[in-house]
C-alpha cells in the first residue's frame, strides 16, 4: 500500500472561491450599490424613458410632432383618433430613423396654464424653446402637425430643401401674397440668411409644417412672438393665434421679414382636395404624379373624415412605393 505523499500548504493559502461565493461577498459588502443596480435593472424592463430624456444624439435635424391635440378634453378620443396618431407617429419615426434625424413627440394636451385666453399661443413657442434646449447640437427644427403624412420618405431634407435653400424659397411677397400685405417695406435686407421656413396657403401663413434654424434671430423671434399688449388688442381678431401674430410681426417689423423664407406649399405641406376647397389653383393640392413630399390634412377635424384621409394617403404611399422587379429592396420594407 502506498501512502499519498505529504504536501505542505503555506499558511496564507486560501482555497479558490466560486463565482457564486464572490457574488455573495459583493452583495454583503456593497449592499446599497446592489440595491440601486437591481432597481435600475428592474425598472428598465418597464421603461427606457429615463435614458431617453438624456437625448444623446448628434442629429442636425429634429422633427417635432405635435400629438394628442386637445388630449381628449374637448372630444372623446375614439379608436380612429388613436389609429391616426399611431400611423402618423410611425411614419415620422421611420423617416427620422432612415435619415438620422431626431424625432420628438410633444404632447399638446390642453394645459391649465394655457387656458387663459391671453396665453393660448404660448404652447407652440414654449415647445420650440424647450426642444432647442433639449437638443443643443441640432441646427434645424421641423414642426409638423399630427394630421400629416410623409409620402416620399426616401428624400432627405438636405436633398429636398437645405442644400439649395435660396433657390427653393421665395422671400419677397410679390410672388404670392394671399394676405395682400405691403410688398416693399423699408429696412428689409434680403442679404441676411434664412432662419425660418414657412408656407402660405389660400388663407395666408400656414404653421402646420414649418422649420426654424437655431440662431440669435430665432431666439429673438420666439421671445417676441407673444406680447400682452399685442394680444390684448387683437385676441378677438386673431383666430389662429400664433399664426396671425406672426403675420402681424412679419408685416410691421423688417428684422423678422428679412429672415423668413417661403417654401411653395406643396414642397412640405401639400393639401388634400378638402382643404382650401374653393381655390382653383393647383399649387396647393397634393399631386400624385408629381410625387409631392408630404401631405397635410389641414382642418380635417372640422367636418371632414381625418381617419379616412389618413388611411387613403397611407395606402397611396404604400402603392407608390410598392416593389417592382428593378427595385427589389422595396419588397423587404
Amino acid at each position: 500500500m502506498s501512502a499519498k505523499p505529504y504536501l505542505p500548504v503555506s499558511e496564507d493559502y486560501k482555497p479558490s472561491r466560486s463565482f457564486a461565493q464572490k457574488a455573495k461577498d459583493f452583495v454583503r459588502f456593497y449592499r446599497k450599490t446592489t440595491i440601486l443596480l437591481l432597481s435600475i435593472i428592474t425598472l428598465s424592463f418597464f421603461t427606457l424613458d429615463p435614458l431617453r430624456t438624456l437625448h444623446i444624439t448628434d442629429a442636425k435635424v429634429v422633427i417635432i410632432l405635435a400629438a394628442n391635440e386637445g388630449g381628449g378634453v374637448l372630444k372623446w378620443k375614439g379608436p380612429q383618433d388613436w389609429s391616426i396618431e399611431r400611423s402618423s407617429i410611425a411614419n415620422k419615426r421611420d423617416y427620422a430613423q432612415r435619415h438620422g434625424y431626431a424625432l420628438t413627440i410633444k404632447d399638446m394636451t390642453l394645459k391649465r396654464r394655457y387656458s387663459h385666453e391671453w396665453r393660448e399661443s404660448w404652447e407652440k413657442v414654449d415647445i420650440l424653446k424647450q426642444t432647442m434646449r433639449q437638443y443643443p447640437k441640432a441646427e434645424w427644427f421641423w414642426w409638423v402637425d399630427l394630421h400629416t403624412f410623409i409620402m416620399e420618405p426616401q428624400i432627405s431634407l438636405e436633398q429636398h430643401i437645405f442644400s439649395n435653400l435660396e433657390n427653393n424659397t421665395y422671400r419677397s411677397l410679390n410672388y404670392f401674397n394671399p394676405l395682400k400685405l405691403d410688398v416693399d417695406v423699408p429696412y428689409v435686407d434680403y442679404t441676411q440668411p434664412i432662419d425660418m421656413l414657412i408656407t402660405q396657403d389660400c388663407g395666408g401663413f400656414n404653421l402646420g409644417s414649418f422649420m426654424m434654424r437655431r440662431s440669435p434671430w430665432t431666439e429673438l423671434l420666439l421671445d417676441a412672438w407673444w406680447d400682452p399688449a399685442f394680444y390684448e388688442q387683437k385676441h378677438m381678431e386673431w383666430e389662429h393665434k400664433e399664426q396671425d401674430c406672426l403675420e402681424s410681426l412679419f408685416d410691421s417689423q423688417a428684422w423678422i421679414r428679412e429672415r423668413i423664407g417661403f417654401l411653395p406649399l406643396r414642397k412640405i405641406n401639400a393639401f388634400p382636395p378638402g382643404a382650401c376647397a374653393d381655390s382653383p389653383s393647383a399649387d396647393f393640392f397634393y399631386d400624385e404624379k408629381a410625387r409631392d413630399f408630404m401631405i397635410n390634412m389641414a382642418g380635417c377635424q372640422w367636418g371632414r373624415d381625418c381617419w379616412g384621409e389618413m388611411e387613403n394617403y397611407k395606402n397611396l404611399s404604400k402603392k407608390l412605393h410598392a416593389g417592382v422587379w428593378y427595385k427589389p429592396w422595396l419588397y423587404f420594407r
Partner: protein
Amino acid sequence: MHLGVPTKDNFKPKGKSYLSLPTKYMRYTNKWRKTVLSFLFLVFIYLFFVSPSAVPQGKFSQLLGKSRRAAKYPKVHGLHVKEIRLKSPLIFPPIESAPLLKEIGLSGLFHTKVLHDPTTKTDKTIYQYFDEDFLSDNNELSNVNNKKDDGALLSAKKAFLNHGKRVFTGSQSPEIVVVTAIDFDKYELSGLMKIVQNRVDYAQKQSYGVYVRWIQEFVPILQKHNNDKEWTRLMVMRAAMHAFPNAKYFWYLDQDSLIMRYDIDLYDYILRPAALDPIMIRDQSVIPPGGVIKTYSDAKPESVRLFLTQLDTKIETDSFILRNDVYGKAILEFWMDPLYRTYGKFSAHQDSALALMLQWHPLILSKTALIPARTISSLNTYMELPEGGDDVHYSEGDLVVLFRDCSKHQTCQKDMEPYWKKLTTK
C-alpha cells in the same frame, strides 16, 4: 514562299472574299469580354440611377446647372427708395431754413388731403408723403402750382423733402453716431443752432458721426396712429441705423440737452465691457420702486445691446445707446411696432412701451443694462446741490445736461443759455 520581294500573288485575296480581312472582324475578338463589359455597364447605370444609394436627382440636376436661378430681391432701402449718398459723417439739415419751414407749414411740406368725418362733423387733414418722383432727378420740384413758393421757400422745402434720403457712404465709417430729432415749432433758430452745433462739435472732436432729423419729417407716420411726437426718436434711430450701416453704436440724445464735455470718448467711458462691468446696475427693478421684474444679477457686459438710465420712477429715453446688430435692430423695431403705438394704456408713450417690453421679454431684458443716470443723462436743476452732487442732477464735469421738464414750463431755450455760455467761454 515569301522571300522578301512581294510577288503578285501576295496581294491576292485569300478565301472567298476579295477583301483580305473578313468584314465580321469582331467575331474573332473575345465574344465573352464584350458581354461582360456591357453587363457591367448596365449594373453601373442601375446602381447610379436606380438603387437606394443612387445619386440623388437634386444633386444631379444641380451639376447640370438646371436649377432655378435665385430670385432677385429689392435692395435694402429706408423710408424713401431713392438715396442721396454723402461722404461726410455729419448729416444734419440746413438749420437756417427753420423759420421758412415754419412759414410753409405742414400743409405746404406734405401732400394734404382733407377728410370729412360725418359723425363728428369735423374736418381732418391727412398729411402724406409726396411720390418718390415728385422731385425729379436733378432735384427740381416738378408740378409746382403753389405760387407762394418763391426761391428761398422752394429751396427750403426741397431740402426738407430730400433730407431723409441722405445716407453715409464714406470710406471710413464712424464707430459711434450721435442721433437727435429737432423740432422747428419748439425752438427758435438760435436754439436749434446751439443744439446742432453742440452735437457737431462733439462729434468732430471724437470723430463720431452725427445724424439729425426734423421731427416734422415723420408727421405722416405719426398721424397714422395718432402718435405723440415723442415716438419720433425711435424712428429717427432706425433711420440712423440705415444711414450708417457700419457704425457700431448709436446714441440718441434728445434735443432738450447739451453735451458738456467734448473730451470724453463714449466708448472708453461706458461702452467698453471693462468700463461697463462695474457700473451696470444689477438686480434693479425695471419699474422702481419695488417692481417685480428686475435686471439680471448675473448680466454680462459683453452681451449688452441697449444702454438705459433710470430716473426716479421710470426708465427714461431722452438719452440712450443702442448697438447696431441683429439684437439692436430687433429691439428697436419691436419697440416701435404699430401695435405698441396704438395701445391705449401707454401713458408715457415710448417709455411705457419700453417698460412693458423689458418686463415681458426676458431675452430683451438680458441684453439691456441700466447705468447710473449721471453718466449720460444728468438733469438740470435750479436747486443748490450738496458737495459732490447727487445721483441724478448735473454737477460740474458731467458729460450731458438734460432739460427734462423744460417744455412743461416753456423754458427750454432759456435754460440752455448758461450752459451754452459755459461751453463757449471754455
